[in-house]
């Protein structure tokens, strides 16, 4: 009854996209505050920590002062933040406490490995869940549907790392498939990506199947059927696009989970990516590396969510032109 102003098609699209992008930038800024705050929040004196991590045993007051000045720790916190974010924008994420190398360089060395594994896993799980959901809906209540439902139930109840552990122990090693020592190549990523994809696809298949079934019994599907459209035409022309939107959102959310789960996955598959890098840094309290990881994770998450929303915006007229 109460509406906002109606916006016209294309202008509405651009305005909505810009608004959403601005929101993403704000989110990224908020995330960067958290990331930066990790160092001042860390227990103990930052300069002492840095010196200890650099292997200095007997710390003198002079060394402490020098380090404080070097790290800019005597400035007020907002100034420290501005300096920090200024460096980050220039691609300088600081120096690793343990290796003394620039963190940006170490991250860039390991980023491709993680991107390959997670990207492949994401692609495989999307393909797999699309395929399985369409089969399940096509053979509704038949044995393929039952088998797929069993798979989704089991998959949804097994945490990824348990599933990966089982698959690695009983399949990869048991059947001597794949390699244990991965060098981050697409081919090496295939088996772990397939395992992660298979696990992730369980939830998505469930979601897609339910969405497709719901859409198949929706008003517009019913009307299309009553007009004489075939089942296949309804499924591909109406049901699938409409189900794709919530599915897309689920993928966006899941990307955060995938990034957050990377350390565990990489630990199990001994994948030389960012997640493994984070775990090393965690046990050494290597804060610059932890900060860099969190920053990259946050930025990828914000970007993924933005992309998903922009795609949804392009697909769904309801988001561009709010109902009166």
């Amino acid at each position: 009854m109460i509406g906002t102003i109606r916006t016209s098609g294309r202008g509405g699209m651009v305005a909505a996209a810009l608004a959403r992008t601005a929101q993403a930038v704000l989110t990224a800024l908020a995330a960067s505050v958290i990331v930066w705050a990790l160092l001042p929040l860390a227990p103990g004196d930052v300069a002492t920590r840095v010196l200890l991590a650099r292997g200095v045993q007997e710390i003198s007051a002079a060394e402490l002062d020098a380090t404080r000045a070097e790290l800019g720790l005597n400035d007020p916190l907002p100034v420290q933040f501005l300096h920090w974010i200024g460096r980050v924008v220039q691609g300088d994420l600081g120096q690793s406490f343990t290796s003394q190398a620039p963190v940006t360089q170490e991250i860039l060395e390991r980023l491709p490995a993680t991107l390959i594994l997670l990207g492949l896993a994401l692609a495989l799980s999307i393909l797999l869940s699309l395929l399985l959901a369409l089969i399940a809906v096509g053979y509704r209540d038949g044995w393929p549907d039952r088998a797929i439902r069993l798979y989704t139930q089991i998959g949804a109840a097994l945490p990824t790392f348990v599933f990966a552990l089982l698959a690695l122990t009983f399949i990869v090693v048991g059947l001597q498939m794949g390699r244990v020592l991965s060098d981050a190549s697409w081919r090496a990523a295939l088996v772990p990506a397939f395992i992660i994809g298979l696990d992730r696809a369980a939830g998505w298949t469930q979601l897609l199947r339910a969405g497709l079934l719901e859409a198949m019994s929706s008003g517009y599907a019913e009307v299309a059927r009553a007009r004489g459209a075939s089942r296949r035409r309804i499924l591909l022309r109406h049901t699938l696009p409409n189900t794709a939107l919530p599915f897309l959102t689920a993928i966006g959310v899941s990307i955060g989970a995938l990034i957050g789960g990377a350390p565990l996955i990489e630990a199990i598959f001994t994948w030389p990516g960012l997640g493994a890098y984070l775990l090393e840094a965690l046990s050494a309290r290597n804060y610059p590396v932890i900060q860099a990881y969190v920053l990259i994770a946050a930025l990828s998450y914000v970007t993924a969510a933005l992309l998903v929303d922009l795609i949804a915006l392009a697909l769904d007229p309801r988001l561009r032109e709010p109902r009166s």
Partner: protein
């Protein structure tokens, strides 16, 4: 990649792996070699067949010449090193006296470890075509051990190193070492080295070395099992039954090592302020069971502070629960069920371990049950770094477990000066015993072997009977995990994992 085929729909076909017919040594280790920096990372080069030293430590505890032809002691402060003839660096340059002197000077200038053990007043002088005279200034009984220690005086061609400056990547393939394999590439995944055909002892046995850095112990095991590497270092000994039962996995055991898991007691605070409790705890430990059951015979029972192969070693550890109980009873700790208390205070200790040594978990767990036999309650706390936690009092601890060598490359002074001497850098438990302190100081300048051995025996007696502080829980046996084709591989002492003749079974 050995993935045979991946059929659409998830079925995966089976097949046999190609036999490991390549002629390189494929090895996995847990520590990453970060660079070719001769000061900070150079010691690794001794371990995997690149770098060599003037002297070499042997399993029986003796020190023998390596790149040196001989080392003679002239008097208390004068030694003569004769270097081997016909040795060339991997870049073809001869290893002559000036080159060796340059290498020594390089380390003495930059390497704080070298500076710590070599007195500043010591001089190295060329006194012949192949002869270097060393004047140590003050008596330095352990000079042979210093020359045999990988972190002290690795012989390198200094010129390319100086030319490289901070850019150590430039040293890939520069051939600055004299060993059988020349490093050609190094990244955060692997080190690759190829055969050096001009090696002074003859043609190295293998085409090259591929060393993978795999921090996860489980992955190293699976990699051997899966045929991806031939040798994996640092296997968790607790998993010995798995190795025994799994095809293509063999636990290769070598000679007794110079170190093991040592326990340090915090004598400044808590239960261990009392000597009686320390003595009782040492008596409660079942050293036989630790070696044979907890570690399945892949470690040796601790019989004293030192590897029993050393001439000065005293075998004075005993397992006697009754005596331990009697000591505690006599000290007034009254036992009720599984615990003891005195004046309303319960006798309990905290064991501190760290995650990089997974074998500490079963060890500390076993210790808990020994302690409960004498009525000492215990809990386990895991910290990132024992040194950091103990030196900065980050946690309340009573017994810190650490993998520590008591006589690395046969040198006793390092451990005593670093861990046991009053106020030493790693004196975790603020231990200070006057007679021990005197002995340590005297030992540093005593050249005569019998005198030295006598003093060492006295030190071991004090550390068990009078004023216990540090004790071994088990002694390491050198070990590696090897595939069937390499089942004859013998793990070496002093980390010399790859020698010029290291090769698979004939």
């Amino acid at each position: 990649m050995n993935l045979k085929s991946l059929l659409l729909g998830g079925a995966v076909a089976l097949g046999a792996l190609p036999a490991a017919a390549d002629d390189i040594i494929r090895m996995a280790t847990s520590f990453q070699i970060r660079s070719m920096d001769p000061v900070k990372q150079g010691f690794w080069m001794q371990e995997f067949g690149q770098g060599e030293l003037l002297m070499q430590f042997q399993p029986d505890g003796s020190i023998t010449p390596w790149l040196a032809e001989s080392l003679e002691r002239v008097d208390d402060t004068t030694w003569i090193i004769t270097i081997r003839d016909g040795v060339t660096f991997q870049n073809g340059k001869p290893m002559d006296v000036p080159a060796v002197l340059a290498a020594i000077a390089y380390h003495r200038e930059r390497n704080s470890g070298t500076q710590a053990v070599l007195p500043a007043e010591a001089t190295f002088t060329r006194t012949g075509a192949r002869e270097i005279t060393v004047d140590t200034g003050k008596p330095l009984p352990e000079l042979p051990n210093i020359l045999a220690h990988e972190s002290r005086l690795m012989i390198i061609d200094v010129a390319p190193v100086l030319a490289a400056g901070e850019d150590f990547e430039a040293l890939d393939g520069a051939g600055i070492h004299t060993g059988p394999y020349r490093l050609v590439s190094l990244d955060d995944q692997r080190m690759v080295a190829e055969r050096y055909e001009g090696y002074w002892r003859g043609m190295p046995a293998m085409e090259g070395v591929e060393l993978r850095f795999v921090s996860d112990a489980n992955a190293r095991i699976l990699a051997v099992q899966n045929g991806e590497v031939d040798i994996a270092l640092y296997p968790p000994i607790a998993a010995a039954p798995v190795f025994a039962a799994t095809p293509n996995l063999n636990l290769a055991l070598g000679p007794l090592s110079t170190g093991g898991f040592a326990g340090f007691m915090d004598v400044a605070n808590g239960a261990f302020e009392e000597v009686a409790v320390r003595r009782a705890v040492m008596l409660a430990m079942d050293y036989q069971e630790i070696a044979n059951a907890v570690f399945h015979g892949a470690k040796a029972p601790a019989t004293g502070l030192y590897n029993p192969n050393f001439p000065w070693a005293v075998e004075n550890y005993r397992h006697d629960v009754e005596e331990a109980n009697a000591i505690l009873d006599a000290a007034g700790w009254e036992r009720q069920g599984d615990t003891r208390s005195r004046d309303g205070e319960t006798l309990s200790i905290t064991i501190m371990i760290y995650p990089q040594q997974p074998d500490l978990v079963p060890l500390s767990n076993a210790m808990q049950s020994y302690l409960s036999e004498i009525g000492v309650a215990s809990e386990i706390v895991s910290v990132d770094s024992v040194t950091e936690a103990a030196m900065n009092d980050l946690v309340d601890w009573d017994l810190a477990l650490s993998a520590t060598g008591t006589a690395t490359v046969g040198s006793v002074s390092g451990f005593l000066n670093q861990y046991v001497a009053c106020g030493a850098e790693r004196n975790y438990g603020d231990y200070c015993n006057e007679s021990l302190q005197e002995l340590i100081g005297a030992l540093d300048v005593t050249m005569e072997t019998d005198r030295r051995n006598e003093m060492l025996r006295e030190i071991q007696r004090i550390l068990v009977e009078d004023d216990p502080y540090v004790f071994n829980l088990t002694i390491l046996i050198e070990r590696a995990l090897v595939s069937d084709a390499w089942s004859d591989y013998e793990p070496a002492v002093a980390w010399n994992h790859i020698k010029w003749d290291t090769a698979p079974n004939p």
